[in-house]
Symmetry: C2
Subunit: 221 residues, 2 copies
DNA sequence: TCAGTAATCAATAGATTACTTGATTATACG
DNA sequence: CGTATAATCAAGTAATCTATTGATTACTGA
């Protein structure tokens, strides 16, 4: 075999390490979760519905291909995305959305089943959310809100929403968001809000998308 | 299992179709080749050093994940990249380059073995090539040159280089390029040119990279 | 209609991968 | 020092993937 053939084989073998890392749905879900910020193994396993051992193994695969980094602090190991990986993941996701009709079909079917199909343009909802003309709700857990949120959003985790409805003005439209297009918190939040008589819309993007799009996010409480 | 868990599983399963498609070094090499333009199965098999049947199977995997499209014309089937795939591939390659030290190590070792290690900055070489101050050689086969090339490049396929050296002015620096950073044609061309007394440099990017960077390419003869 | 060529299909063996289970390591804390 | 907890390791099985081989299909042109 020629030296240049061997060279190419070696180089593409390396490229394929990245490909193999993202060849598993569960590893992609782990990356998706890590786009929200660093997490411990336990939390990742829980959110992705994996056994602890299985999650640990997937995380080690991702780590071996350098897509994530681990940091040990006391009893816990915290994993975080490596630089450049968020953009790559969003690119992969976007390619799947644009090339694989099944993604949209599945999403539509799921939304339809909960009566959440919207006729409103996503960019328009984001514009309204940024304009200050509507009440913007971040329905993720508080820690995630604090790690980064839309400038004029207020944190009302889904679990607390019903109890805190009195905080919300009834004469303004509400826009709710969560982690991104495939997170279900905001869908549920909009359902609750409408049930209670609010005019509510879902913003079907999340902090990772906005960061990639260059939207300035706020942090802290 | 909850409906939202099922929904997520289905969605990430779809995303993983893209991941699985790029989990094989040979499929990545096929995508790399297809970045240069549409090709028949035979040509792809030949360039990627695959048996015809094996190449066909890999192409069908890529096609099933919608990364490439096939068009049958007479006896030949021509495959081409689907929209958005070139950018995704370059993103994956870039991530591998930035995250996997082995890629650079392998490349450096290969270049060093042929005495082709350069101390010149890649962006600077491209600037010179675009400036018109140097002779720019496109050493790929003529068809590829015609499909798209740097504005002031001239086509001198590597196979013809020695025979056509008299066409080149000896008092100007020569910059040679080929398909991209992992194509070896330009490396060889620079070796030949230096052997013959020219001052020659290699431009280690190619048409796909320039398209992605927004450089206007010329087409035709 | 028949021969020749491009491409695909089908079947297979060998390698790789995913998930489970039970054991083990490392750290914190009483 | 011993116990509890987070995480990893190790081994085994089932499933999946890769490359090869030989057969088959689809089209061209004599």
């Amino acid at each position: 075999m020629s030296p240049s053939r061997r060279f190419k084989d070696e180089v593409f073998e390396q490229f394929a390490r990245i490909g193999k890392a993202v060849a598993s749905p569960k590893r992609l879900e782990l990356l998706d979760i890590l786009c929200q910020g660093p997490r411990t193994v336990e939390v990742l396993a829980d959110q992705a519905c994996l056994s602890l051992a299985n999650a640990s193994q997937h995380l080690q695969v991702l780590r071996a291909s350098r897509l994530i980094e681990a940091e040990k602090g006391g009893l816990y190991v915290t994993y975080r995305l490596a630089p450049g990986v968020e953009g790559f993941y969003l690119g992969l996701r976007g390619l799947a959305e644009s090339r694989l009709a099944e993604v949209e079909a599945t999403t539509r079917a799921f939304l339809a089943a909960r009566g959440a199909l919207e006729a409103v343009d996503a960019a328009e909802v984001l514009r309204r959310a940024l304009s200050g003309a509507v009440t913007v709700l971040d329905v993720r857990p508080v820690e995630e809100f604090q790690a980064g949120h839309l400038p004029n959003a207020r944190s009302v985790p889904l679990a607390e929403l019903r109890a805190r409805l009195t905080e919300l003005p009834r004469d303004r439209e509400v826009v709710a968001y969560c982690r991104g297009p495939y997170c279900v918190l905001a869908i549920e939040a909009v359902r609750v809000l409408r049930e209670e008589g609010f005019t509510a819309l879902r913003l079907d993007t999340g902090p990772p998308d906005w960061r990639a799009a260059g939207v300035a996010l706020a942090a802290g409480p």
